[in-house]
Amino acid sequence: MSAKKWFLVIAAASLLLIQAAPAPASAASTPYESYNYNFWEEAVPAPAAYVPKLSISGADIGIGDFVEPSDMVVSSSGMIYVVDSGNARIVSLNDQWKVQHLFNGYEKDGETVAFKNPSGLFVDEEENLYIADTDNGRIVVLSKDGNLLKTIEQPASDVLPKDFKFIPLKVTVDRAKRIYVVAKGIYEGIMQFDEKGQFIGYVGTNKVQRDYTEMFWRLLSTKAQKAQMVLFIPTEFSNIDIDAKGFVYATNIDPDSKEPVKRLNPSGEDVLKRFGYFDVVGDIRYRIAVGPSKLIDVKVIGNGMYSVLDANQGKVFTYNDEGDLLYVYGGKGNQNGTFKIPVAVEHLGENQLVLDRGKSNIVVFEPTKFGSSVNKAVKLHYNGEDEQAVPIWQEVLRLNSNYDIAYIGIGKSLLMDKKNGEALKYFKLGMDRESYSVAYKRYRREVMKEHFGTFLTVLLVLAAAWLAFRLVNFRRQKRKLTISNFASQTLKEGKTL
């Protein structure tokens, strides 16, 4: 009886304690774990850079659910376009999530032509829409009111095979109105069209990975066996984007590639900077069952930053212009802020948007203090204003003292100010050996210049001391020698005596 009572009292007390405990800081917690990789390639917990703010489905904005949406674009004026593939339409929204226009097709020669499974979209600065109308096998260019400007049909060229079928998936356009298209079954690279829609050629081919065991087996096998084997073909690109300078960013989904993200210059060479501690590949540590990141979208954010979307794990990785991983957010799951089948990442002002095909919604992420500080500092550093970046980097370090890029950023600013000794400390913390070397070279010269007089004096004194020591020693030994000689002589004389 009394035991029961006691038990009741304890239970009540524990309940009270639970009530009294302060609510965990879950207000800003995320449904995914936030981390970054350190120099030793370990995933180290980091504060979240972006947290989910809200999610928006087609029903929320009053146009019925999206069906298998496959692309999303935010134009320079802030309009949001969603490619609603299953409903064969393009939806344009303003930044208040109000529907502005529904593009179901276009008028050509008095007839209405409907889209058929459109899957890619680009919006240029004049708000013209470039639509990859996949199952119709054409690129459609519409004005912002939905008037047809032109179409690009199946291209004809000597380069292309006779039975070539044009199935455009993704599209982007540069300043000179050249159109870049990722098409299905095209391994030669990205198709490039001039402003009139004439096929020019390919840019940026993915390299074939050499597999030595495969080559060995090939060496041993017969012709019939060889014919059965898989062909070594480069992988297709998965998505493209273009930056303000007209460089094309492209991703591919080759699981073995060390360079799944490319930045192609106008002549088609890959010029992406990869100066970080590790490759620009998304996750560098993963379970074998899960596999490496599968990058299916890339978005240029500006100031050298770009985000890539990993469909395998549903994560967004953001890099700076030098290829350092800035932050990671997202994950797979059912909670708000995690994705089922993410297909596109965009940015709207400070926020980032991710389009989820599996859940048919758009998730809006807003930066935390940490995220926006990193963005601000990277922007200042990119524009050469390192000194102004220092207080922001210090703020970042206050929030995350494992953030190597911040140490390097501060170090570089100190180096600029000729505070080489202090810069050394920061570069060491950031594990940046190259910059450390530069700083140390200057520091060493500085110290030597400053202390050259002292150094020389010490050297001279030491030399003099050594000489004096030798001289004294020599004298003493000479004396010893003469004494011993004298002694032996006397001994001899004594003997003879």
């Binding site: 030793w40 050996r433 190259e434 070397s437 060493r444």
Partner: protein
């Protein structure tokens, strides 16, 4: 003392044929000295791993363990000596175990005298100069290998070709010893488990 610990080892490393001959036939070497150099090498390696300049030191300081480093040097050292003794006994080598131990120990001298100053120098180097660091470190290893070679040759009175063969065989025997050792250990473990299980079954029987 000075003769044993400084003069003679320095003589050996610059005049290896002469030096190892004196070690074997004039009884100038001492096991005590060889073991001292082993200890000094361990200390030099630990110092290098801990204190080499930032630009050349790629060790993760969180995982540096002096005891592990001690084992990773002492174990191969004695493994080499035992394997070498085992193989040369079969191959008409004239060396005794003591002499093999001394030859191997004296061969370590260049590592000691190069590692320590290079560790200090590396702290004052910039990126372009680290090439010298790596060069000199490689030279010290080559020097060590040459001394080991000459030592083995002199101690056992072998020809050049036979020395190379023996050294290669020694490495193979080292592998075999490690393999057998692991085998014995795992068997002992299983036997122990077996008896523990019998004991358990006996006490749980009622």
């Amino acid at each position: 003392m000075k003769q044993d610990f400084i003069t003679f080892p320095l003589h050996v490393i610059v005049h290896p044929f002469d030096g190892f001959w004196d070690m074997k036939y004039d009884n100038k070497g001492k096991v005590k000295v060889a073991l001292t150099f082993l200890l000094l090498v361990i200390i030099a390696v630990i110092l290098r791993n801990q204190f080499a300049g930032f630009l050349v030191n790629y060790n993760d300081p969180r995982y540096l363990n002096s005891l592990t480093q001690l084992v990773t040097i002492v174990f191969p050292f004695f493994l080499w000596c035992i394997s070498n003794w085992a193989i040369t006994t079969l191959m008409d080598g004239e060396g005794k175990f003591k002499e093999i131990l001394m030859a191997t120990g004296y061969a370590l001298v260049p590592l000691v005298i190069i590692y320590v100053p290079m560790t200090i120098a590396s702290r004052f180097m910039v990126e372009e100069e680290t090439a010298f660091y790596y060069l000199i470190m490689t030279l010290s290893t080559i020097w060590f290998l040459v001394l080991l070679f000459v030592g083995t040759m002199t101690v056992h009175q072998y020809s050049v070709f036979k020395t190379i063969t023996t050294m290669a065989l020694t490495v193979i025997v080292m592998g075999i010893i490690v393999f057998l050792g692991t085998l014995v250990l795992s068997m002992l473990q299983q036997m122990a488990d077996f008896f523990i299980n019998i004991y358990r079954e006996l006490i749980f029987r009622t």
